[in-house]
Symmetry: C2
Subunit: 349 residues, 2 copies
Amino acid sequence: MPTGGLPNSRFLRACRREEVDATPVWLMRQAGRYMPDYRALRQKWGILDIIKNPELAAEVTLQPINAFDLDAAIIFADILPLLVPMGVQLEFVGGEGPVILNPVRTAADVEALRLVPPEEGVPFTLKAIELVRVELDARRIPLIGFSGAPFTLASYAIEGGGSKNHLHVKRMLMGEPAVWDALMSKLARAAGEYLLAQARAGAQALQLFDSWCGQLSPSDYGQYVLPYTRRAIDIARSGNVPVILFGVGSAGLLELLAQSGADVIGVDWRIGLRAAWDRIGPDKAIQGNLDPAALFAPWEAVQPRVDEILSQAGGQPGHIFNLGHGVLPNTPLDTVKRLVDHMHVASAR
Amino acid sequence: MPTGGLPNSRFLRACRREEVDATPVWLMRQAGRYMPDYRALRQKWGILDIIKNPELAAEVTLQPINAFDLDAAIIFADILPLLVPMGVQLEFVGGEGPVILNPVRTAADVEALRLVPPEEGVPFTLKAIELVRVELDARRIPLIGFSGAPFTLASYAIEGGGSKNHLHVKRMLMGEPAVWDALMSKLARAAGEYLLAQARAGAQALQLFDSWCGQLSPSDYGQYVLPYTRRAIDIARSGNVPVILFGVGSAGLLELLAQSGADVIGVDWRIGLRAAWDRIGPDKAIQGNLDPAALFAPWEAVQPRVDEILSQAGGQPGHIFNLGHGVLPNTPLDTVKRLVDHMHVASAR
């Protein structure tokens, strides 16, 4: 599978901070619950069924590409299946999100985690990438692969699911630094090799999602998380495709995210795009950052918020428009369509 | 009731950015579930029972003062009872937190909200303040009164309780600005007058809690929230006591919080104290900002985190040490005691 296709796509040019004819746009969770086509499939299949079936995963990946004029696709997958071949027992419980039946809490638990090559552990996502690339190449649209960042993988593995205060994670991080190091070293390698395998299978860019990094103080993030994120990105970058690091609630961490080795920093809506880019520095591209809840407002209220973000980007090469977090369930399709179309018109150079 | 007592307390001097002999410390939710004395009372009484009984509220307020060498007390109350005399039906459901049975969603709902003088609507908290001041004056410890900030009150009133994405709030804020203005105008006045009444009853400082401001983009916060927060603070400041504005997840909003008219800005742990103070500016005091989860770590891991915050404050007059959010349930009492004692020793001038 050739991986270097479409070097002149808007999206890939923006990742490299090159001039573009219009600001590229894609949306985190652009494939998912807000789309009727997806909900129809979910009548028959569970989330993990779809992810593990390359044909279905490819189909879901293409659903938003068929519906909207997006500048990139992102492979339909989830951050947690990577943990399963390592020995974590994962279930998606209806409405409650992921549950891990055997949380990782002790040195012995960490020791027992297996490092399995992604080609063995998560072959279905790599196969889905190959399948979807055939379709996307015909439409000249690049494909993004992704992984959970080591800290977010650790959070789910330790807490056993979502968490409000992340007390178990922080207790290990603060109180048992050697156990923490062993766990994060394994997860950095797993995430990095998973990203690299996705690039080799055909992903033309890679995103690390750090959903929970915003729960940490900058000091703890810098000491106990950043080195492992950097390690994962180092491995991923040997795939020779741009790497995006997205952190939720990271307004206080941006200078540190900028030291991760990522080419693009994704920011949520809780900070102004200009302030964020100034803190990240001009040698990085930036992705973001409309409040996903804004898409529930009338279009007349959405457009000025979109234009404000474009204005803050100021036409500086290296802006990829996105939401500040994933598309929410029940988001009106018509507003998504208007957003994507407006982006290309309003940002035309 | 004299309100101007103890002008030379460490805490009040720090609010005014005057030199102190040691950094003052108090803890958000210092009275509450982690204390055995409180849990014993809760065997017999519900939260609202305690809040509505001035003797019990005074007793709970004093529990942490009896246990630890704290530099300020905060009246035991809750931000939501203020909404009840306005017409909101509030219940505390065990384990789930507050539930509002008649959420405020329409122009008519907003219109129906009544503005009642706090002396009529929430007399119990004002009476509790009078009672507890007698005890605190004898110990020369100042008392803090508080209110929810208008946006946080609006969030609970509109969503009907806690919320993940605040979609109803944002839909009104973005889509129905006139209804939003009417609601926030009422809540700004209610919160401001409640704070002022607490100052008149004896509170020597006042804190506005904005638990949810971190859900907004800086642009939306500046346009749709800051003017009302400023209005509440304007009213409160006529009580001639210092006002603290605390916002959760506000790392991207600090320049705006600094324009609120508050004397002190409280910050959570998701930003470094030095970076936060630089953004707030030297003409404001700062309160914070240890991760409350850190108190679950062994003391050897807590102390360097505390010392790091003191080091970032750099002895600059105007630092009040606190957690970055409320004390969590099950926090070890011994660690709280060591924290408070360490603060006074490590920061002695």
